[in-house]
């Protein structure tokens, strides 16, 4: 759910995995081409000739959930260091060269992946491929400079998390939800562990994981595979493959208790009510993908927009809240969260808010799901897949994310068909598995001194669905 990145441009990707496999309304979604280099690096090309530009992304199959114990934040620390020079490109030059070429660049770290990207005129694509291939193996940063960057990251953490009660509550809720799964650790790291990270920690992580056979190249824009292949062979293709560790993830034990997290903060005026349920993801070993598709449709019905069940019940009919919705992002390797966010009215009782949410869930578990309501949701998701094509950055991100958690391109392309095949029984079965109070955390954000039984949350109308486009300025 959270990404950390070098500069805060991309914001939360939260609900994007709505299109996490979003594709086109017709048979094909993005119509990608693919090939694999001799060293094992997969390459995907998504042609889009709207403008003479490309988005070039390299996705490493490693993220914060792969960090060694006691080194939380090292994946993200390394991501920052990747901009600070190699044996051939002096400190600062990477960004200078990209900028002089009219390129916009950044990177982001998540639990399961780390990705680097540039959006740039297509005639400069060979240049950024050279630069990106170079820093895959030639990173060279001084220990002093790494310490300055560590301070930048501590500032980043304070800005994004410590000074934002809503973000602190989410962090604590994830920590409480996952008993064993590494998603319980924040991607950016715990502050005391960030403060102890060293250049050597980051370089060890780099040597372990950054290799062409553990990376995926995705290029979208004004290019095709035939043009890209020789460039990829000449750059990434020259880097030898190398053994990388297995991604052995700890899995959750059985959960047995309802959990409740309350954050009191003096700066809070508007309270919040949230619940995170443990939920299956596309990358989770043993999970049934059918359940995941069904939960995507359920998310649409329960919490997407002002005609969703939660919004209608809590905001329109009962007047308890000003915002209500849900969020589900299943492009993960481990079990993930199905999240419900409510922004109660300031004068509402949080107990009543919780009861209203529980009533909507009970209604669903009782089997109240008309076929027409389901059909309308499926139709909307099919149209969302058409909208998803209308972008340079979005399709590259969707494809990169899917491949990095072990899905196939065909899974991305067949997403609309799979959604269209979701029936009432599928949604009800998935809901009955997920909506178990002992596999959930309920969180509340309240002003200091208030009892946790009387408040409102932030106007998260449910789905922070806004696409994070390539808004680098």
């Amino acid at each position: 759910m959270y990404l950390s990145q070098r500069i805060g441009i991309l914001a939360l990707l939260t609900n994007l995995f709505l299109m996490a496999s979003a594709g086109p309304g017709a048979a094909r979604v993005f119509d990608p081409e693919t090939f694999t280099l001799d060293n094992g690096m997969q390459v995907v090309v998504i042609t889009n000739r709207n403008a003479p530009v490309v988005t070039h992304m390299v996705w490493y199959k490693v993220g914060a959930a792969d960090e060694p114990p006691g080194r939380s934040g090292v994946a993200h620390f390394l991501e920052h260091l990747m901009f600070l020079g190699t044996g051939d490109v002096p400190e600062g030059e990477f960004s200078n060269i990209v900028a002089r070429s009219g390129g916009q660049e950044n990177a982001f770290t998540a639990w399961d992946y780390t990705a680097y990207f540039q959006s740039i005129a297509v005639d400069r694509l060979p240049l950024v491929m050279e630069l990106e291939a170079d820093r895959m193996t030639n990173l060279a940063v001084s220990a002093e400079r790494a310490l300055v960057e560590r301070n930048v990251i501590i500032e980043e953490r304070r800005q994004r998390v410590d000074d934002d009660p809503s973000a602190r509550l989410n962090e604590q809720m994830f920590a409480a939800l996952f008993l064993n799964n590494p998603y319980g650790r924040p991607i950016i790291g715990w502050e005391h562990e960030i403060a102890g990270l060293t250049l050597d920690d980051a370089l060890a992580f780099y040597r372990d994981w950054y290799a062409p056979n553990n990376a995926t190249l995705v290029v979208s824009g004004d290019i095709d595979a035939e043009t890209l292949r020789p460039l990829a062979e000449r750059t990434y293709g020259r880097i030898p493959a190398r053994a990388v560790p297995d991604r052995n993830r700890l899995v959750e034990p059985a959960h047995a208790v309802e959990r409740r997290v309350v954050l009191r903060d003096e700066s809070v005026v508007l309270p919040s009510w949230r619940r995170f349920y443990l939920a299956p993801s596309f990358g989770e070993p043993g999970a049934n993908p059918g359940d995941v598709y069904a939960l995507q449709v359920l998310n649409e019905i329960l919490g997407a927009g002002s005609t969703s069940r939660l919004y209608k019940a809590l905001v329109v009919d009962q007047g308890l809240a000003v915002g209500a919705g849900s969020s589900f992002s299943p492009s993960d390797l481990n079990q993930t969260a199905f999240a419900i966010f409510i922004t109660p009215r300031a004068d509402a009782d949080l107990v009543a808010v919780e009861a209203a949410v529980d009533a909507e869930i009970a209604r669903l578990l009782d089997g109240d799901l008309p076929e027409e309501e389901l059909a309308a949701a499926r139709e909307r998701l099919a149209i969302e897949a058409i909208y998803a094509r209308d972008s340079l950055f979005g399709p590259a991100r969707t494809v990169g994310q899917a491949l990095t958690i072990g899905r196939a391109l065909e899974d991305v392309e067949s997403w609309p068909e799979r959604i269209r095949a979701v029936g009432v029984a599928d949604v009800l079965a998935a809901a009955r598995t997920v909506f178990d109070p002992t596999r959930a955390v309920t969180g509340m954000l309240v002003p200091t001194g208030e009892a946790a039984g009387q408040m409102a949350g932030r106007p998260e109308t449910g789905a922070p669905a806004a696409g994070v486009e390539e808004e680098i300025r």
Partner: protein
């Protein structure tokens, strides 16, 4: 290993030559057509049939700056209500019609314009334009919808008063635009929001959603002929004109003033402000390039280099030019630990003094120009973004071929022009400084206000 690339400072240039030889740029000119409906309504259109999507971005000049005294927040509240019931459809029915066709329709109030955005797949275009026409010409303002949205806006205000960057902006606009419409809160306060009636909302629509204030931009899967008919259908029934927009031109006050908004927390939010430059000023593009060099996007600006990269004082610092219709600003913003505020301020002021006196180097100018011109096409990667850009061009009174001319304007900027505009604009002593937090350094503030009292002012509903 073999992925090596040249060496030293010539690396970039050598590679560029190589690349240019490899992948010549195709011409992808964006062709903007002027469409004028039989009823005389103008729209700018970029026709593109690659994806079956149509985006329309429009605006009525005016916006929240024309909210009546005591009804601050009127334009904003109206913007939440046009799609909450119109014609024969109540709020739930209207929203359901949008949802069923996956139509994105939204409105928003800005200081100088009331804006709308519509996105639809081609197969639902008739439904989309029909609903838009209803929203603009027959909004209902039913009591339950008004109360629901009033509560939502109030919650929005309650959320914002806890945020350091909102508190900083509020404090700045208070002192810099005292007595001017730009000094008033766009969403209103709890008190003014409570005072707005359904009649006020109807009055807002009658006075402001009028054809002589309208600009329209459309992109996507639609022909000019089809669009011409749609323009009359959607906008034709609106009144021809309304009362004049009477907002005086002004310059920001509070030069050299330091305001401390006292708030506990790990970090301070810091905002520096000074007068900017008019969109029609002959040196506007010189200032635009200057701003990029000082604090524009990416990692290369002087502020990012010196405050973040060299000293690690912050995660982010940037500057930008803000052009309101009646006032121009240049702003710098950053969040940073309380301990770092004093040092960062000194670094920023030193940069301001240096550039005011010495201008910028040839390399800095050339790099800024190649970035700004080379990255320009990245704004045109989706139908919505193209339409949004064209709306802005119209609101800024720029010509229809602006997209073709813009890079030439950037490239025409000389080092002398940048030095001239830097000397004219940058004055380290005249910066207005607003800090929200608990900074360690003694800022010797001219004004000190507890965050709680700033928040309480916004939240006092004027009742009890």
């Amino acid at each position: 290993m073999s992925g090596r690339i040249g060496r030293g400072p010539f690396l970039g240039a050598a590679l560029l030559l190589l690349c240019l030889a490899v992948l010549p740029t195709r011409s992808h000119a964006i062709e903007v057509q002027r469409v004028i409906s039989p009823g005389g309504i103008e729209a700018w259109l970029v026709e593109s049939h690659r994806v079956p999507v149509i985006a329309m971005e429009f605006a009525f000049r005016g916006g929240s700056s024309v909210d009546p005294e005591g009804r601050e927040g009127l334009a904003n509240l109206a913007s939440t209500l046009l799609d909450e019931g119109a014609g024969d459809l109540d709020a739930a029915e209207f929203q359901q019609r949008l949802t069923d066709a996956a139509i994105d329709l939204s409105f928003g109030a800005r200081a100088d314009a009331f804006q709308g955005s519509l996105k639809t797949v081609t197969t639902h275009a008739d439904e989309a334009f029909g609903l838009l026409q209803l929203a603009l010409t027959a909004p209902r303002f039913d009591a339950d919808a008004v109360e629901r949205m009033r509560a939502a806006v109030l919650a929005d205000i309650q959320r914002r008063v806890a945020e350091p960057d909102w508190l900083g902006r509020r404090a700045f606009y208070d002192v810099a635009y005292e007595g001017h419409p730009y000094g008033r809160p766009l969403r209103g306060t709890a008190a003014t929001l409570a005072a707005i009636t359904a009649d006020d909302l109807r009055g807002f629509v009658a006075d402001n959603l009028v054809r002589d204030r309208l600009v329209v931009a459309v992109t996507g899967d639609i022909t000019p002929e089809a669009l011409a008919g749609i323009l009359d259908e959607v906008f034709g029934a609106l009144p021809a004109g309304g009362p004049p927009v009477a907002v005086p031109d002004t310059r920001p006050g509070a030069a050299g003033m330091t305001v401390l908004v006292e708030r506990s927390g790990a970090q301070s939010f810091m905002m520096l402000a000074q007068p900017g430059i008019g969109r029609d000023d002959p040196d506007f593009y010189a200032a635009y390039v200057l701003n990029h060099i000082l604090g524009g996007g990416g990692f290369t600006s002087r502020l990012t280099q010196q405050v973040r990269e060299e000293r690690g004082l912050t995660y982010g610092i940037f500057s930008y030019l803000a052009n309101f219709r009646h006032s121009d600003l240049m702003l710098v913003m950053s969040s940073l630990s309380n301990d770092n505020v004093g040092e960062a301020l000194a670094v920023i002021r030193a940069i301001w003094r240096d550039v005011a006196e010495n201008g910028v180097s040839e390399d800095e100018l050339a790099d800024a120009q190649t970035f700004l011109t080379g990255s320009f096409p990245l704004q045109f990667t989706s139908t919505e973004r193209i339409a949004g850009y064209l709306r802005r061009v119209q609101l800024e009174n720029l010509p229809i071929d602006h997209i073709d001319r813009r890079n030439d304007l950037v490239n025409a900027v000389t080092r002398e022009a940048v030095a001239r505009v830097a000397a004219r604009l940058l004055d380290a002593e005249a910066l207005t400084v607003v800090v929200v937090g608990d900074p360690e350094a003694d800022l010797a503030p001219d004004l000190r206000v507890p965050a709680a009292s700033l928040a309480a002012r916004e939240l006092n509903d004027g009742g009890s």
